[in-house]
């Protein structure tokens, strides 16, 4: 750490082999050197550059437009692998829009278009020849409101693999059971998950089912759009514990309105806001979570995390 602008995410565990079961990887420090994240901040500048040991998603000069209106302006950021990155900011600042850009869900909105790059594992997801369905398979999305399909728990989880051509029963069984276990739902549903409807579960269980459903497609990245905002505190806690567990194997990006949640679950935090001139969302500050919440470099960030606006 040679300058005060260099920050290390101390808790970041080594990237786990994806065939390994998600054990309590938290308690295995020092096996490999943890990836370091260096953040360079130019004083007064609104954009910051992040460099990490391993970058999962590299966003470069991202602009998102809805028709003639620019919704997001010039976002450049590197999202580290096997960590939780939180997007915070006031309503309408474009954080969900950016999130959905990562798995090309914005393609579905008529008139939406982007400029810039979203590079996932070295490949721009907006390249010609890249199929949105392929991107969405590698990048999972968990929605704000739990939205299981009106099918059995088993069919919900098997939905993705089946659409991708997995037909073998034994293989499906294995994927379904593994995904439910990894989503910390197994103990609650193991007796009747083949018969019970996903809609018969409680809200928190439904959200974990949605996470299991996403895990079943074996994504690299899981995007979560305010995944706990419709849940009670106990269910929220379970989701947060699950996120902590999942980051051993996956790269997680979470949009949240709840700043306590951001500080609890994430290693990196990006603060977005609306610009006053054209109402477009832009990235104010991106740094490790501790810094954003205790010692932000931008006055706007300071004002937001201390509750003075937003």
């Amino acid at each position: 750490m040679n300058t005060e602008n260099d920050v290390t995410v101390a808790e970041m565990p080594p990237p786990t082999d994806s065939t390994q079961p998600a054990a309590d990887g938290l308690s295995t420090p020092g096996t490999t050197n943890p990836p370091q994240i260096r953040i360079t901040v130019q004083p007064g500048a609104a954009t910051e550059e992040t460099k990490s040991h391993e970058t999962r998603i590299a966003v470069k000069d991202l602009n998102i437009y809805y028709g003639p209106k620019r919704a997001v302006r010039d976002v450049t950021m590197d999202i580290p692998a096997n960590a939780v990155t939180a997007f915070i900011g006031p309503s309408g600042c474009g954080k969900s829009t950016i999130l959905r850009c990562f798995d090309r869900m914005n393609d579905l909105i008529p008139g939406a278009r982007i400029t810039g790059e979203v590079v996932l594992n070295g490949e721009d997801v907006y390249d010609r020849g890249v199929l949105p369905v392929e991107v969405r398979r590698r990048v999972g999305l968990v929605f704000q409101r739990p939205n299981p399909f009106p099918m059995t728990i088993y069919d919900n989880v098997a939905y993705g693999p089946r659409r991708h051509g997995v037909k073998d029963r034994a293989r499906l069984d294995e994927i379904v059971e593994g995904s439910i276990k990894r989503a910390a739902l197994w103990d609650e549903v193991k007796d009747d998950y083949r018969k019970k409807s996903g809609l018969a579960l409680s809200g928190g269980q439904q959200q974990r089912l949605c996470i299991a459903r996403t895990l079943a497609t074996e994504p690299d990245v899981i995007l979560m759009d305010e995944p706990a905002s419709a849940l009670d505190p106990i269910s929220t806690l379970k989701i947060e514990e699950l996120i902590e567990e999942l980051r051993q194997r996956y790269t997680i990006v979470i949009v949240t309105h709840n700043m306590q949640q951001a500080s609890r679950v994430s290693q990196m935090t990006a603060f977005f806001t609306l610009s006053s001139d054209d109402r477009a969302g832009y990235l104010v500050e991106y740094a490790n979570t501790a810094q954003i919440f205790t010692n932000p470099r931008q006055q706007l960030t300071e004002d937001y995390v201390s509750g003075r606006f937003g």
């Binding site: 579905l108 369905v133 969405r136 929605f143 099918m151 659409r163």
Partner: protein
């Protein structure tokens, strides 16, 4: 406060009364024809052929009604559902969908007797199918297809966007999403569409007078499966008076002394059949939804 409570009571009473009135009208219609058909209705009436000298029965006419109903649904339901999928999922807001929508509305407002005349010119004369079940079924398709399409479209649009997004976010294609998530969820709505369409088809008279004809081959031989033979009950080319047309015919030119009894009883059968059909379709819709979605 007191006034508000009084008005609350009044409003509740008015809505209840209107609801009760609707039920009463339906009940009165059913009751009237059930009472009018007492003494005439019997298994014999349902299973014998019409006669000029005795009471006779309506067996072939009842058969024709169901035959035309099924034939029309076989054409209308798949086409209407596919059209509905196009309109709800693919069409967007271009010029073509607007034109389609306009045509749907226009065809729906054309009087059915005019559709009958069109059927006479096209199917009966130009295609040479004469007065037959197929001519009738196609005439019925002309003005029920837009309705079926519209209802299927509404059923599909009623499926929450959440469900589609969830499927797409898992990497499913648009068609996989429609096939596996949207369609199963829309099935109860589509079944309701089929019920409404079926009711109209079963009860329709005007469009059939010039297309399906006013007579029926005397005495059906149900072992005759030659569908090219216009005497076979299975053939789409046989002249097919339906119950509704039969009632109209009896009342306008019936000569038998039993005309009113036969007409009333036919009406009772018509009403009961439509009711039974609705209930059946409803149950079927529920069962289908349970099977395709696995929900309880």
């Amino acid at each position: 406060m007191r006034r508000a409570l009084v008005w609350d009571r009044v409003a509740t009473g008015v809505f209840w009364a209107i609801g009760a009135f609707v039920v009463a009208v339906l009940g009165a219609i059913i009751l009237h024809f059930l009472l009018a058909s007492m003494g005439t209705i019997s298994l014999d009436f349902l299973t014998s052929n019409p006669s000029r000298t005795e009471l006779g029965g309506v067996a072939p006419i009842l058969w024709n009604s169901f035959y035309i109903l099924v034939l029309t649904l076989l054409i209308t339901v798949p086409l209407g559902t596919i059209g509905g999928i196009y309109m709800a999922e693919y069409a967007g807001n271009g010029r073509l969908p607007n034109l389609i929508r306009l045509s749907q509305e226009l065809i729906s407002s054309v009087p059915s007797i005019v559709v009958g005349l069109f059927g006479l010119a096209l199917f009966v004369i130009a295609f040479g199918w004469s007065f037959s079940a197929i001519s009738g079924a196609l005439a019925l398709t002309v003005f029920n297809l837009p309705l079926m399409m519209r209802l299927a479209e509404q059923a599909l649009r009623g499926v929450p966007q959440d469900e589609r997004d969830a499927s797409l976010a898992l990497g499913a294609t648009k068609w996989q999403t429609i096939r596996n998530v949207v369609l199963p969820l829309a099935i109860p709505g589509i079944i309701t569409g089929i019920i409404l369409t079926a009711g109209r088809i079963f009860g329709e008279a005007a469009a059939l007078i010039f297309t399906a004809g006013l007579s029926t081959p005397g005495g059906y031989d149900f072992s005759n499966f030659n569908i090219a033979d216009a005497q076979s009950p299975w053939s789409p080319f046989h002249t097919s008076t339906t119950l509704s047309v039969y009632i109209w015919k009896l009342n306008s030119e019936g000569l038998s002394q039993f005309v009113h009894q036969i007409a009333d009883t036919s009406a009772a059968i018509l009403v009961v059949a439509v009711l039974a059909f609705n209930l059946l379709a409803r149950g079927l819709g529920r069962a289908l939804q349970r099977r395709t979605t696995g929900s309880r």
